[in-house]
Amino acid sequence: MPADLRTRLAHVELPSPVLTAAGCAGAGRELAQFIDIARVGAVITKSVTLEPRAGNPVPRLAETPSGMLSAGGLQGPGIDAFLQRDLPWLLSRGARAVVSIAGHTAREYAELATRLSDAAGVTAIEVNLGCPDAEGGGRPGRLFAHDPASAGQVVAAVRGSGRWDIPVFAKLSPDVTDIVAVARACVTAGADGLSMINTLPGMAIDVATMRPTLAAVHGGLSGPAIRPVAVRCVWQVREALPDVPLIGAGGVRAGTDVLELMLAGASMVAVGTALFHDPSACARIQRELEEELLARGIDRVADIIGLAHQPAVFAADRHGRLS
């Protein structure tokens, strides 16, 4: 009997803990050529902004060892086109939509949340805090996610504007000295759950042109290269806030990677960069996850959430040590 893959996104039930990560699957349309997106836990959409955005010039992407640097600049059609075209399409395919939102000010986030509340069929909102805080002053390039207070303000604004029954997940960045402090601030401000990690700030220099490879100079590092950082962040936040549901992301490429992040404390896991490499990754990973659970005699995927935090004896005792 295949394992029960159902998991809970706050009060919403998902058929699988495997989601697509924001910005790595558009609004699901392209992947639907390769897999049945109704069977994916949910599609986390590309972060949607109030206005259409043309994004950054190319090169926007650079391959790095087991990773990818990207600086797309959130190109997208804006919330109007998203609500008219993308969301209905996703729903028509039977998929669940977690809508990621991005703005320059807490007000913009709030407005986006309001707009989403008027729309039917939004499973959850993911608040992309990895955006420069236009009013933050101080250091240029400072993100909402860099500061507990700014992060909390944005979350509170969204919570105050969105519908009470749409769960709000705050997406954290790993490039902070203390991620737990930011996590706490978001939960205190009303986040139903947390999502981590966004990309790590990185750079590449083209040794032929002797200039930064990306047109935007700086970019975000993603892919298997950063998985150990994602596991660490999920572990730390789970340790501090054991009751808050977490969406883990960062370098997931195989079923065992989902296991790893769930054992660390994630209730759901999002697949990002791996989709560029394998457009059917979500379906494959889900299959691999089922096989891994079967091999361990685990009936319900929900049983492994955070299991690695338990003392060794107990964990081994419950599910038998494999070797």
Binding site: A54, G55, Q75
Partner: protein
């Protein structure tokens, strides 16, 4: 037709001058393919450190083994280096056919096919399809040197005419395809141009075609990471029929574009008037919403 993802067995690996021609068994791709489309291959094996797929224009498809796909490449980096090491019976993860194919004229026309380097590869399947439509194909192929002109022989054998240029003069005329373009267009009384070459060449081709009022279909082989439209890494500014410039994806909306629609001079930038560019405002504010 929608692309598919398959595990294709390598059938043959051949050296062709400076290039490698690789044939992969992939019936589902071969039957769907139309000239100008490309495939995207995962490189590096199971534990690969290279996450971007490598894109290659399809050179040819054949019906043997249920359907095979051939592509031609030069080793220019780690991904193509890995591919070059593959041997017959190795298995590749291939996605395709991808992108918008070359549109072909409904009625017989005089077509000029311009290719630079490996960019010549996709032109031969196109020529075959043009022949089915009763079109004439003239070739204008260029490269830095003789060994990097792909398909000169085939072009001479199958084309109505074939002009070759090399930068070092080791084959055909010394110079670049753009030097010969006007001459060839006039001699061949070209009705439509198809091109696959670096952006600088495609820009020149499009400019000249504009002067002669000839339509151009340009295959843009700029860097891509996914090939399937999700990474947003391959955008270029293209003017829509509504006159609005949008940053569109070469892998989905291309790789073949109308030459007069691409803002060649602005490739690599976000033109200030592109939809959603910083400071951009909708030209027709929605009535009633203006505040």
């Amino acid at each position: 037709m929608a692309p598919v993802q398959v595990r294709g067995t390598v059938l043959t690996v051949r050296r062709v001058d400076a290039y490698i021609a690789m044939t992969v068994v992939a019936p589902a791709i071969a039957t769907r393919f139309r000239p100008g489309q490309f495939i995207a291959i995962a490189v590096g094996g199971a534990q690969t450190s290279m996450l971007a797929r490598r894109a290659f224009a399809v050179h040819d498809v054949r019906p043997d083994h249920g359907g095979t796909v051939e592509f031609v490449f030069a080793v220019t980096g780690p991904g193509t280096g890995w591919l070059a090491e593959c041997r017959s019976r190795d298995v590749l993860d291939v996605v395709g056919p991808l992108g918008r194919p070359f549109p072909v004229p409904r009625d017989p026309a005089s077509c000029l096919l311009v290719g630079v380097g490996a960019g010549s590869a996709p032109l031969f399947a196109l020529a075959a399809r043009l022949a089915e439509r009763g079109c004439q194909a003239d070739f204008l192929l260029g490269a830095p040197s003789a060994d990097r002109v792909f398909g000169a022989l085939t072009a001479r054998r199958t084309g109505r005419s074939a002009v070759i240029t090399t930068a070092d003069g080791s084959l055909g005329a010394r110079g670049s395809v753009t030097d010969m373009l006007a001459t060839v267009v006039q001699q061949a009384r070209t009705d439509v141009i198809y091109g696959c070459a670096p952006v600088s060449v495609l820009r020149a081709v499009s400019a000249l075609a504009g002067r002669y009022a000839i339509p151009v279909q340009a295959l843009v082989a700029e860097p891509m990471a996914c090939g399937t439209g999700i990474c947003m890494g391959c955008v270029l500014p293209v003017v829509g029929t509504d006159g609005i410039t949008r940053m569109v994806r070469a892998c989905v909306d291309g790789p073949v574009f109308r030459g007069d629609h691409v803002r060649w001079d602005d490739v690599g930038t976000i033109p200030f008037d592109a939809l959603g560019a910083p400071g951009w405002k909708p030209r027709q504010p929605e009535a009633g919403h203006a505040g």
